[in-house]
Amino acid sequence: MRKIVVVEDDQPILDLMEILLKKLGYEPVLIPNGLDALNYVRSEPPALILLDIMMSPLSGWEFLDRLRTEYNQREIPVILFTASPTVPGKMAELHDPKLGILQKPVTFNELKTAIQQFLG
């Protein structure tokens, strides 16, 4: 079963994601902050990361930057899972082919389509 790491500081969403991802046939790994998530990803690279942006102490952007440059993990697909309306603009500037976006709140079908875009 392919692992999907969900980096999200909002517990109700983590709870929901656990159920939805299981329903979609993936193994969810729920991590509530970016630093722990980075450590986890380094030891066990997942199939995909669902990444919240507005988090502390490490924001989603910092997580992404360190993942891609410091840990050199350029092939792991990352779906930015955000409520911020300015994220799509910034995302376009990165020109990262392994980067997707889902704007909260998403429907079950939107989540499924976004994940399948990377994992088939």
């Binding site: 909002d10 109700p12 969403i13 709870d15 929901l16 994601m17 159920i19 939805l20 329903k23 507005m54 409520a83 911020s84 309306p85 300015t86 603009g89 376009a92 704007q103 909260k104 709140p105 998403v106 429907t107 079950f108 079908n109």
Partner: protein, 600 residues
């Protein structure tokens, strides 16, 4: 020049010959009288007679005069010896007289020489002086003498000037009167500037200094200041012109010689805090903030090139009171007094910059607020929407009855609608606050239209007629245009009367700068009042009634309009009540400011 005659290897003038004749006559007369007196034994001798030729000759010809005195002495002594020998007293007396002739001649030579040296010195100064000199009589102001400098200055000859009165050479009565007022003060005057008239009656500026030589003669030196005065006057005239032109200007203006300020207008004076007099002569660079000096030096360096061109740059300045102000400098090369100079317009944009900073801060606050609002509104919706979706995806496994499912579906529909409204509001906020870029690409218009129809399932909802050339391509942001098309199709489908019909037609032409893609429906049409409302970002009327009218929830048409405007285009609407409406997307064929956007 007096004619000269060569005699015995010497050159003599006529005057010399006349003088020689006089001297020879007097000498011979003296000798004859003395000889006759001695021969006739008349008694009284007059050796003083010899002094006439000796003094005359010595005065004009010192060396020859002494020789003549010696000859006269010898002749006189010889005559006395022949006549009165052996009268010892008479012989000694004659010898003494002869010696006295020579002594008198030597004394005359000495004193006339002294006079001649000082006269020569004076003449030399008078004639060769670089200054003009005029000697005139104090009582009737007749010019006694004027040197070549004065004569040349005024276009007269020395001789012509000598016959005139001093009053005649002033340019006007005013100058004449002021001169006589000063002269009447009885004091020696220095540096009195006045204006003479040349022979051709043109003015000529001079600087006079005068002093009395004696009770009757006044010596007046004349310095030519005409050129300097005219240049000065021209500078004053130019400055007056600049002042007239610039004093009411709301922007600071300075004339500079490189960076040295030659003239500053009142607006610059207010800007810099220095008075106009303080500004003049200051270096403009001294008013530039230290951090900007290097940049300013580079900017000013471009003014010194052979052909300087108009230029502009922004700098921070420090005023006299120490306040920092921002200004944009516009440099224009000009010519002032036949020399290259710079006209610099200084536009104070301190307030504008502060305003811009405040706007930026406000924008940043709005962004922050937007992010916070988005987070707070969207995040709690996620579990609601997610769980509703989950229950509706597989209702049986969660024990959901049909009746409950219908309720849940209504809930999900409302939540989804709220989600759309929030998304649209936030998208509009982003479009207003952020510099939204476009992801340009070249794509098939037919492809985009077909995809939009398929994704929205519009073909089921209405009959759709497409009239678009198969090879037509747009260069635009495909995703954003797809959104626009989707909004207009939703609108059209919602509005069409049964049987619903939509026409999608390309109405461009090779001569037009815009592509025109029209979406036409057979609906009820839109009133003019509604037309004003549909594209607004802030809805003034009832949202419900509006939604009923236009069929598109929230502000999707406003977003569509913004997307098209980002491309440099617009959306037009034609509507006939109960016939239908046509929304036309106008997109420029040429991508505006290509460099400002990046290609995907």
């Amino acid at each position: 020049m007096e004619r000269q005659i060569a005699l015995w290897g010497h050159r003599f003038t006529h005057t010399d010959i006349v003088r020689f004749t006089v001297i020879a006559s007097l000498t011979l007369s003296s000798i004859l009288i003395t000889a006759i007196t001695l021969a006739q034994n008349i008694g009284a001798l007059y050796p003083q007679l010899f002094y006439f030729p000796i003094l005359y000759a010595t005065y004009f010809y010192p060396r020859r005069g002494i020789i003549l005195a010696g000859i006269c002495g010898i002749v006189y002594e010889c005559l006395v010896y022949f006549s009165l020998f052996p009268d010892t007293f008479a012989l000694w007396s004659a010898t003494g007289q002869a010696v006295l002739f020579v002594c008198v001649a030597l004394a005359v030579v000495y004193f006339t020489n002294l006079i001649r040296v000082s006269e020569a010195r004076y003449r030399s100064i008078f004639e060769n002086s670089l200054l003009g000199v005029i000697l005139f009589e104090k009582n009737n102001f007749t010019i006694r003498l004027a040197n070549q400098q004065v004569a040349g200055m005024l276009g007269y000859t020395v001789e012509e000037l000598s016959g005139m009165t001093f009053a005649e050479i002033f340019f006007s009565h005013d100058f004449q009167r002021r001169f006589f007022e000063h002269l009447g003060s009885g004091e020696d005057i220095r540096n009195f500037e006045t204006c003479f008239a040349t022979k051709t009656k043109e003015h000529h500026w001079v600087n006079l200094s005068w002093s009395r030589i004696d009770d009757t003669i006044v010596s007046c030196s004349v310095i030519d200041v005409n050129t300097e005065k005219l240049v000065r006057q021209e500078a004053v005239d130019s400055s007056t012109q600049y002042r007239q032109v610039t004093e009411n200007s709301p922007t600071g203006m300075v004339i500079t010689d490189h960076t040295k300020i030659l003239f500053a207008n009142p607006a610059f004076s207010i800007f810099s805090g220095y008075t106009p007099d303080e500004c003049t002569g200051r270096d403009l660079a001294d008013s530039v903030l230290d951090e900007d000096r290097e940049r300013f030096a580079a900017f000013a360096g471009r003014w010194d090139t052979a052909a300087p061109v108009q230029d502009r740059a922004e700098f921070r300045f420090i005023t006299k009171s120490g306040e920092i102000r921002r200004a944009v400098l516009y440099f224009t090369p000009i010519t002032r007094n036949n020399r290259p100079a710079g006209l610099i317009n200084i536009i104070d944009n301190t307030e504008w910059e502060e305003y811009r900073e405040r706007v930026e801060q406000t924008k940043e606050r709005r962004r922050e607020m937007m992010r916070a609002v988005a987070h707070e509104l969207r995040t709690p919706l996620q579990p609601v929407l997610g769980y509703l979706n989950l229950l509706l995806q597989d209702p049986k496994s969660f024990g959901v009855t049909d009746e409950t499912r219908q309720i849940l579906e209504r809930c999900a529909k409302s939540v989804d609608q709220e989600r759309q409204i929030i998304n649209q509001m936030l998208e509009l906020s982003v479009l207003e606050v952020e510099e939204t870029g476009l992801d340009y690409s070249v794509f098939s218009v037919r492809g985009m239209v077909n995809a939009a129809i398929a994704n929205g399932g519009y073909a089921i909802k209405a009959e759709i007629a497409i009239d678009i050339p198969p090879d037509l391509v747009f260069e635009a942001d495909r995703q954003k245009l797809s959104y626009v098309l989707d909004v207009l199709l939703t609108n059209g489908v919602t509005y069409s009367k049964t049987p619903k019909k939509i026409w999608i037609t390309y109405r461009g032409s090779p001569t037009l700068p815009f592509h025109r893609l029209a979406i036409q429906d057979n609906g009820v049409g839109i009133t003019e009042t509604q037309l004003d409302e549909i594209f607004k970002t802030e809805k003034t009327g009832s949202t419900d009634s509006l939604r009923q009218v236009i069929g598109v929830p929230g502000r999707s048409l406003a977003i569509a309009k913004k997307y098209v405007q980002l491309h440099g285009g617009y959306i037009s609407v034609d509507s006939i009540m109960n016939i239908g409406s046509t929304f036309t997307i106008h997109i420029p064929k040429k991508r505006p400011d290509k460099g400002d956007h990046h290609d995907a």
